[in-house]
């Protein structure tokens, strides 16, 4: 199965291991990500102003590329994303123009160098695609069960809110990531912060806030016996991983734990070579834990 794929900027720079592990896992399950023939940054945050359509042009342009590529390649009119922020921005812009003909028309007329957007692309997050393909397929492909790992699945905000963007039917009690990780054998814990904000982009100007959020979230999962956090957003990953440094400066007793992208662990379960999974790109090195649990050799 082939599906149009939008990487976004961060997966090509600071989160290369998220992309390489996702592609390897998809490949393993017989899914080929067909990268859009051209793409631009989506703007990373969905504009919340009622009067400004300019900020929606970038994600709509991405959607037009998907529509045109899908026509050319004869694919179902879908687009898959990995980064939670790209997912949210493109999904919400799609939702806006699908439900507001006048705005869609204005945007189409403004971008007269592009074909009209027909507002028909179905935007999916990779987690939804995995869920659709089926838990059984993940089970069948699991060669090395993750049963030795106790995981805290962390959703953050943009996979679940606003409601129109939620990848789970129950945005306040999501379970899609748990389902997928459990299919690969892992145990998961329940904890109160899984859909609470990590401090997001405040990490640029107010490091302390994100360090405190990181401390709260990590202490909560450590207290409940988690070995690691698994997530799907390169910004959450940055905050929960790298900001452990500042969090430790503020709270010397904090225990460090590794932060994984979900496909990195699925890749291990499927027996994919760990070089493709990028465990060397973390701030808190996950390899000691993986070695201790006998999930990797070196």
């Amino acid at each position: 199965m082939e599906i149009a794929y939008y990487p976004g900027c961060t997966l090509r720079t600071s989160a290369k291991n998220f992309e390489s592990s996702s592609i390897a896992v998809a490949d393993h399950l017989g899914i080929t990500f067909k990268e859009l023939s051209q793409w631009n940054c989506c703007g990373t945050v969905y504009s919340l102003a009622s009067d400004d359509l300019m900020k929606h042009l970038a994600p709509v342009r991405v959607l037009i590329r998907a529509q045109e590529d899908n026509k050319e390649n004869g694919l179902d009119n879908k687009l898959v994303t990995l980064c939670s922020m790209c997912y949210n921005t493109v999904k919400m812009a799609n939702h806006l123009v699908k439900n507001d003909e006048e705005k869609l028309d204005t945007i189409n007329q403004f971008m007269d160098e592009e074909p009209d957007y027909e507002a028909d692309v179905n935007v999916l997050h990779f987690l939804q695609l995995l869920d659709e393909i089926g838990i059984d397929r993940i089970k069948e492909n699991t060669k090395k069960s993750l049963e030795v790992l106790n995981l805290a699945c962390y959703y953050g905000c943009y996979l679940l809110r606003p409601e129109e963007a939620s990848i789970d039917e129950e945005p306040e009690a999501p379970s899609i990531m748990e389902r997928i990780m459990e299919a690969a054998g892992a145990r998961t814990i329940d904890y109160p912060f899984k859909n609470e904000c990590c401090g997001s982009y405040l990490t640029v100007t107010e490091k302390k806030y994100t360090a405190e959020r990181t401390y709260k979230i990590i202490s909560s999962v450590v207290n409940r016996g988690a070995d690691a956090i698994v997530l799907s957003c390169p910004l959450c990953a940055f905050n929960l991983d790298r900001r452990q440094k500042q969090a430790k400066e503020l709270h010397a007793n904090m225990k460090s734990i590794p932060i994984f992208y979900f496909p990195q662990l699925l890749g291990l379960a499927f027996g994919i070579n760990s070089n493709e999974l990028g465990f060397n790109m973390h701030y808190v090195d996950p390899r000691p834990l993986l070695k201790e649990k006998r999930l990797i050799k070196r």
Binding site: G43, M85, C157, S200, Y201, L235
Partner: protein, 134 residues
């Protein structure tokens, strides 16, 4: 004492915020759920429900001086818990935009240290520039 009679200026301010945010500000009955759930409330000088109250009272200068709108990370936690269906994240954005659209920038990229700049993910930089510059 706060004067709660609304003169035309105050009414105009409220109307502008309602238009920009697309939210009916007067519906808020001050239950405080938005503030109770806000993950960043600890760092705010006005709580989210106070921000709404200030807007209801037309206190434009006062509300535009609060740090709350810059501490808010647009996480939508408040928006999903409001029993009056007010999307508070949009209210915060409208208040930010009133300032940013006057060409006032709230972030100086040159102040970010080189080492930090190199390690920050693109989405963090783009998002903060979107929220703090016009």
């Amino acid at each position: 004492m706060v004067d709660i009679t609304l003169d035309q200026d105050k009414k105009d301010f409220i109307a502008e915020i309602e238009k920009l945010s697309g939210q009916k500000i007067m519906r808020c009955y001050q239950c405080g759920r938005c503030s109770a759930g806000c993950p960043l409330a600890d760092y705010m000088d006005l709580l989210p429900n106070q921000v709404i109250k200030y807007v209801q009272l037309g206190l434009d200068k006062e509300v535009l001086e609060c740090n709350t709108i810059w501490v808010c990370a647009a996480c939508y936690r408040c928006s999903v818990v409001c029993p009056k269906d007010i999307d508070i994240a949009r209210l915060m954005e409208a208040l930010r935009l009133l300032i940013l659209r006057d060409d006032i920038e709230k972030m100086d990229i040159n102040k970010i240290k080189k080492e930090e700049y190199a390690e920050l993910p693109q989405i963090a930089l783009v998002a903060s520039m979107r929220k703090y510059t016009s």
